[in-house]
């Protein structure tokens, strides 16, 4: 039996074509219907134009695209023998603004997707408070980001060699105050626990607040047993808060970009991506596994790569990044240079790859620059990893996770645990 289901809200639209066998989901075809041609728009443009064009791939992770495009140019310059030597200040500012973007995206996932959809699954009535909370958390997080990046969405403050801003301590203090407010909100509303208590607890059952409600709704739906995929994880972007590598059924190894391959999928405008011809999950759970985060490793030991484990990893990443952003601000030295490069050579020849961890996982930009102009540009987005349909012999990550679901509503929620971003997928 075939059933079509339309996924909408928050990040574009996707069609799921379910194939049921004996009353359970046997296969799912994920269709992203529209292609927007960003890679073609970039062709023949000045190398630096990518810093303005690529954020427009996505309204929710535009900042990750900006950083990936700057890193691609920098990597190309390095390959051409130019030293970049980013200052610690520039690195920290880039990390700070990227983590803020991840934090706002995770808050939106919990309050705008998980809360209402789980309530629906559990047949519970909830008030509109979750929208107000998502709004508050979002406003303050992107405000902290905008102090340095100028605006959110669609900043272009990261340039080859550093950042364009030159913040004062007065501005850093303003950002610190905002982060403190968000931490208070996280303790009072999101966790119902102090951060210290959160780090001491070894049990997710002691988590209260909105997250406590979300976790109990997940347990009610038996999500600790559902949504399991290949238990294979990949993190490719280099950042101070993450560890790169691949995890494949208990084995850790280094990751190498040369194993990444894109495949055209018939009927969908999105290409699928594999690593060494295998599908890998990317995103918060992958990052927690590669980071050997004890709290998530424990949950993973009990429930493997279930929907519950995936959601817990997103929660834990939000908390860890929030606390870590404080360190980044505390250690900023305004006396250092913001940007170490001046103008790019007019006739620049460079081939480079920029890899970034975005909210939903590893994002890759590859650019070929000839005579200062973009000759070719290629983007692989996180959702291409998680949401691609299978190759002939194997199911895609999300499809594998949805198999065995008893109805489309449940499968749809499992699909959502990967945090769908359809605008990114069909850039």
């Amino acid at each position: 039996m075939k059933i079509k289901h339309f996924v909408e809200k928050v990040e574009g639209e996707t069609e799921l074509e379910f194939d049921f066998k004996n009353g359970i989901v046997n296969n799912v075809n994920i269709v992203f219907p529209f292609y927007r041609g960003i890679e073609e728009i970039l062709r023949d443009r000045d190398a630096l134009d990518a810093l303005v064009i690529t954020p427009r791939v996505c309204g929710i992770c535009n900042h990750a695209h900006l950083l990936a495009s700057a890193r691609a140019i920098e990597n190309g310059l390095q390959n051409a023998g130019v030293n970049i030597n980013l200052t610690p200040k520039a690195i920290s500012l880039r990390e700070f603004t990227l983590y803020c973007e991840i934090i706002q995206s995770h808050f939106k996932w919990f309050y705008l997707i998980a809360m209402p959809q789980l309530a629906n699954l559990n047949k519970l009535e909830i008030s509109d408070n979750h929208i107000l909370k998502a709004s508050w958390a979002n406003i303050n997080t992107v405000k902290a980001l905008a102090i340095f990046a100028g605006q959110w969405p669609h900043s272009s403050y990261i340039v080859p060699g550093g950042v364009t801003c030159d913040p004062t301590y007065e501005e850093i203090i303003q950002a610190e105050a905002l982060i403190d407010d968000i931490i208070k909100f996280t303790q009072n509303e999101f966790l119902g626990l102090s951060i210290d208590e959160y780090y001491k607890t070894k049990e997710i059952s002691s988590i209260k607040g909105d997250m406590g409600i979300i976790l109990s709704m997940l347990k009610n739906q038996n999500m600790q047993e559902k949504g399991k995929s290949y238990d294979r994880f990949l993190t490719l972007g280099e950042h101070s808060a993450f560890t790169t590598g691949i995890y494949n059924q208990s084995l850790y190894s280094d990751a190498n970009i040369t194993y990444v391959k894109e495949h055209v999928q018939s009927g969908s405008k999105a290409k699928s991506v594999s690593y060494d011809n295998q599908f890998c999950e990317v995103g918060p759970l992958a990052r927690a596994m590669l980071r050997k985060n004890n709290f998530i490793l424990d949950i993973h030991n009990k429930y493997q790569d279930s929907a519950l484990t995936r959601v817990c990893a997103r929660m834990d990443e939000l908390i860890n990044l929030l606390i870590y952003t404080k360190d980044l601000l505390a250690n900023l030295n305004v006396k250092e240079l913001s940007c170490t490069l001046s103008k790019l050579p007019k006739d620049l020849e460079a081939n480079g790859t920029g890899i970034v961890e975005a909210a939903r996982g590893s994002l890759i930009h590859q650019s070929t620059i000839k005579s200062g102009k973009i000759q070719n540009y290629s983007i692989i987005t996180p959702t291409q990893w998680n949401l691609s349909n299978g190759l002939e012999q194997s199911y895609g990550i999300a499809t594998k996770a949805m198999r065995g679901s008893i109805n489309t509503q449940e499968a749809n929620f499992i699909f959502r645990t990967f945090d769908v971003c359809s605008v990114c997928t069909t850039h």
């Binding site: 909408e8 927007r36 996505c58 992107v142 605006q151 900043s155 004062t168």
Partner: protein, 298 residues
């Protein structure tokens, strides 16, 4: 206001990155504002109707908000051409808001196929065949994305029946009557023609070499600031003219020059007037403006 008297609002997306949705969601009064409408459909909010209901075309729509560029054929949702759906609701609506440069002029996503992709009523600055039909109820809010307050204020003005003076591209003058340079924290450097030679400094103007389009871009970004705290030029990034029908131009980080002078003049300033003043300003060396504003001890 009783529940029945709330005007209905339908937010419809076409070819977009969702940037205007997320921008507007960062409005400090987003929730309070949205509660003043009966929301028929919205990309973030949970609504009574699904997109499947929307594309059937039978729902109420007092205020239509459009996001994203339009393609007459080949941009379907639920098997319906979204352009046709938008036109259908536009006929019903009392007010049509094009939120962002894509919905207004075609913007970023028009660049992929300028023959078939454009704004709802304009292709770049040229009115298209349906402009005449809708011009009396059309409000353009270009920007990539539109500033949260631009969308919020226009919705509030509609609710409170305030007059909204518009320019020839249907942009509200209270917002687009200014240029993005107004309020720039680097304006002294602009006045005295002192360039920011490198990125990453508080000092210097970005108009002469780095492609800043603020003096000829219709927007009040530096007057009301982004996310209530900053703007591109305040963090040393040039303005890319994202509210203009020409966005995105090419060579965005380089100033187009004619005989060593910026080719684009500030809005309404004759070239001769600009050159005269620039020549005089440049003939002086102002010591203070050639030094760092703040000197931290090593």
């Amino acid at each position: 206001m009783s529940k029945l008297s709330k005007p209905t609002l339908l937010w419809l997306q076409s070819i977009t990155c969702n940037g205007n949705t997320h921008s507007f969601f960062s409005h400090p009064d987003f929730v309070a504002l949205m509660q003043k409408f009966e929301i028929i459909h919205h990309p973030i909010l949970n609504t009574k109707y699904t997109l499947e209901d929307v594309v059937k075309g039978n729902l109420a729509c007092d205020v239509l908000v459009l996001e994203g560029a339009f393609k007459k054929n080949g941009m379907k949702k639920m098997n319906k051409e979204i352009y046709t759906v938008a036109k259908n609701y536009a006929k019903k609506a009392k007010h049509i808001i094009t939120a962002g440069s894509c919905a207004t002029f075609g913007g970023m996503f028009r660049q992929y196929d300028t023959q078939s992709i454009g704004g709802f009523c304009f292709d770049d600055e040229v009115p298209n065949e349906i402009y005449k039909l809708f011009k009396k109820k059309l409000i353009s809010i270009p920007g990539c994305p539109a500033h949260p307050r631009w969308i919020g204020s226009v919705l509030s003005m509609i609710l409170t029946h305030r007059q909204i003076p518009l320019d020839e591209l249907n942009r509200p003058l209270e917002i687009y009557g200014y240029n993005a340079h107004v309020g720039c924290s680097r304006s002294e450097y602009y006045e005295w023609k002192i360039d920011a030679s490198k990125y990453g400094h508080k000092e210097g103007c970005l108009f002469y070499e780095h492609g800043c389009q603020a003096p000829f871009t219709h927007a009040n970004c530096n007057k009301i600031l982004w996310n209530e705290v900053s703007s591109k030029t305040r963090v040393g990034t040039p303005c890319f003219g994202c509210t203009e029908p020409t966005f995105p131009k090419k060579n965005l980080w380089h100033t187009t020059t004619l005989m060593g002078m910026p080719a684009n003049m500030p809005i309404g300033i004759p070239k001769r007037a600009y050159l005269t003043i620039a020549g005089i300003a440049k003939s002086f060396t102002i010591k203070r403006l050639n030094e760092p504003i703040i000197k931290y001890k090593k």
